[in-house]
Symmetry: C2
Subunit: 216 residues, 2 copies
């Protein structure tokens, strides 16, 4: 199947317009048909040995979100201790999650034993199954953006908070907690870039011809 | 920036038409302008704390590819020992890489210390930086597909083969070796599905409402 130039440009537009959304979520629910399309895109991610190790837990319960938010606040306070001086002040001033404002949370996991202990393609690189679940997240992120829905990945959160609140069995690895919802606006640049936390690197700094080249 | 319905449909088309390509690569080189677009899409992936930990090593040297292919053959032979009976025979019959046929290899890495030891968003979830590099790979995969270029992730390969052949320093984590090139055709379904290795799961098996639900 051929992708046309217009279709190609739409993919690039979506990739460059994707943001990690932590605020400006609107409370409007995501229609079922839209959510189903987004989840189907995630489910069509590549996976090692075609094992499709992911699960998606859909979180809309208010009390559950409040508990997860508490977990964030604890991990966030712990993290602040690791920064010093102005950097700590800046860290504390940033809005880094939209757990309670976004209408939908999605916990993404990885079932490492889904298709047995030996997995085609995982034998020399054991983390490949975790990476498959991450590919599903990136598909979901782009599909959400294509639906003009914001998505934010909340990583300032200990796994046990999600495990306890979402009844996730011990043998299931927790990969991510995502917040989804319509937004007031999408910004042109990442929040952390606009806040002066870090700049986008010039691409030449991350490209190497033939072998690794030391860069400054 | 608003994504139109036609643009949204182009994103879904690309996501569903993406394949893990291991054969049917054509030798035609990828034009520089096309490659630059694909790499820029990868470079615009989300990253934890905006650290952009990825590097991309572009491999076109024939001797280097031959060495990497040897590494694959060794890891592949080791893996075959882990399967038994018919499953081993089937495993051995599958074409699982296009290292020498594809015009371009790209090794993707992760520099975990790129922005210092404390990273915003990595404090409670240390593997987030590795996941950022995986998001870059999925962006690259979709961008390649949008350019009608096939991409295959070769994971049956020990890290040290890439480290030695590409001079990758010890402090850099190796995430993936990817093969890229134009292809004779894109198949409608994954190779492993057509080969009867595993089926695509029904999406209802991976969806959970509210909390984890045990599925059969």
């Amino acid at each position: 199947m051929k992708i046309s130039q217009a279709e190609r440009d739409a993919v690039y537009k979506t990739i460059f317009a994707r943001r990690d959304v932590r605020r400006e979520f609107l409370p409007d629910p995501i229609p079922d048909a839209v959510l189903k399309r987004i989840l189907l895109a995630a489910h069509h991610a590549p996976s090692v040995g075609f094992m499709q190790p992911w699960d998606f837990i859909l979180v809309t319960d208010k009390a559950c979100k409040t508990n997860i938010k508490q977990g964030f606040l604890q991990a966030h306070a712990e993290a602040a201790e690791l920064f010093h001086g102005d950097r700590r002040t800046q860290y504390q001033s940033l809005k880094l999650e939209g757990i309670e404002e976004s209408p939908l949370g999605i916990c993404v996991t990885c079932d490492r034993n889904r298709t047995g202990s030996v997995v085609l393609g995982r034998t020399a690189k054991p983390e490949m199954d975790l990476f498959s679940s991450v590919c599903a997240i990136q598909n979901m992120w782009l599909a959400a953006r294509a639906e003009n829905i914001g998505l934010g990945w909340v990583s300032i959160l200990h796994d046990n908070v999600l495990r306890e609140n979402l009844n996730i069995p011990e043998h299931i690895d927790i990969i991510a907690y995502l917040c989804l919802g319509y937004v007031e606006q999408f910004h042109d640049t990442p929040d952390l870039q606009r806040a002066g936390w870090l700049d986008r690197q010039d691409m030449s700094n991350v490209l190497h011809q033939g072998v690794w080249e030391d860069k400054n």
